[in-house]
Amino acid sequence: MMDCNEVAEIAPLYLSGELDRERASAVDAHLRFCASCMGEIESQARLDARMREVIAGERIDVAGVERWIRARISTDPRNKVASILPLHSKSRPHRKWVAVAVGVAAVLLLAALGYRGLVSPHGARVYADAARDHQREVVEQEPRRWLSDRASISALAQGQGIAGSAPFALSSGPYHLERARLCFLDGRVYLHVVYTDGSREFSVYFHVRGSQPLPGSPREIENGRILRTSVLGAEEVASLQTKDLTVLVVSDRYSGDALQVARLAATAL
């Protein structure tokens, strides 16, 4: 069993969602009986969220910087050299160094695969996949077969071990369920449901909860559930776990919908 000093030492990794399953569970077990450490972690998570909200919310005008850099790179004298080289290529390295590099890369790849297998089989990549899927399927509206009637969506959910009513639990108040389909995120099948508030669309991905904690920094706690957020390009992903489900919400990063819907999910699911 971990003691308070050990928990304090690895708290940064716990708060950033980087701990492997075993150590995260050990921290969770300690927090369940240690009110002092629980208070510290919760208080820190709240301060982090408040700090992020305030500092990341400051208005930053980058128009001048962007103008400068666009003008500068289009007239950069080095373009003349760079432009005759193929994209993403450098001068040709010596064959011996290529062999060494290939060897090192193979070792690193094996180490990374082993590490992923042991530590984070379903880690932060799921957020990147969700953001990409939302961008492709919802923002760019690639033609896909979607289901839109209640009975078919319920059956689709049940086929994935998810309660048939779960997607409809979020279809209340300002939000309306539009359509659903299955998709792959990080090699696993998720139920992708698209909701709208009449002007914007956002995605919610459902999956039966595994034993592994979600990656990412805790943003806030709602109804006893930790809400996490990550910004990936133009999208924001909010995530949470209920007793039975892992839920990811993806929206435009500036709309704030992801966190709002995650709060609703934390109470409705």
Binding site: E9, S36, D48, I84
Partner: protein
């Protein structure tokens, strides 16, 4: 000279070279736009909190983008562009610091143990943005750096280690100390703010 080298490499390419060249540059610029320039707000936000002077912060971000553009051929598509850009930003920031001072910045060693004990359970909701911003600015540059990257920008400890070229253990202890300092600074302010609002 460049054209001569290209001609020696393949005469057949010569008639198409100008068109190929400009389209390749355009392609690089478009790719750079989508990969890098979208991160300008994050970079400028952090640069302002590092340098305090808006003009210096803008210079730092411009320098970052120029360095990124010049090494864009080495950037691996699909890898973490934000972390790559922040690494360049911090290299530029440290290089600027080396030019302007000879002595290295030292982080005061604070104990990790619980000697400073901010109030447990504090929720910091009574604090306004000015109080939080001022407390952040009062931290040492090393502590401010890890708070900005981990808390505000959401980088993981492993990404911080890569961006700042530090061992992960150093990142974790620095982040713990920075958070503790911040809470120690803010807890009394929150108590005062709560007392004032209760009156």
């Amino acid at each position: 000279m460049v054209l001569m080298g290209q001609a020696a490499f393949s005469d057949q390419c010569l008639p198409h070279l100008p068109e190929l060249t400009s389209s390749t540059v355009n392609q690089r610029q478009n790719e750079f736009e989508s990969v890098a320039i979208s991160h300008a707000p994050s970079l400028l936000r952090v640069a302002r909190r590092l340098a305090f002077d808006p003009a210096i912060a803008e210079d730092l971000v411009q320098e970052t983008f120029l360095r990124a553009w010049r090494s864009f051929d080495q950037f691996e598509p699909g890898t973490n562009a934000r972390a790559w850009l922040f690494r360049i930003l911090f290299n530029a920031f440290y290089a600027q610091g080396r030019k302007s001072r000879s002595a290295p910045l030292l982080v005061p060693l604070q104990p990790l143990a619980r000697e400073i004990s901010p109030r447990i359970g504090a929720d910091f909701s009574a604090l306004d943005g000015a109080m939080l911003g001022a407390a952040l600015d009062d931290l040492s540059v090393e502590h401010r750096t890890v708070i900005l990257l981990a808390v505000v920008e959401g980088f993981t400890c492993r990404e911080l280690a890569e961006i700042l070229s530090l061992p992960i253990g150093t990142v974790m202890s620095r982040l713990s100390r920075a958070r503790r300092s911040l809470r120690a600074m803010l807890a009394p302010q929150e108590s005062r703010a709560l007392r004032a609002s209760a009156k």
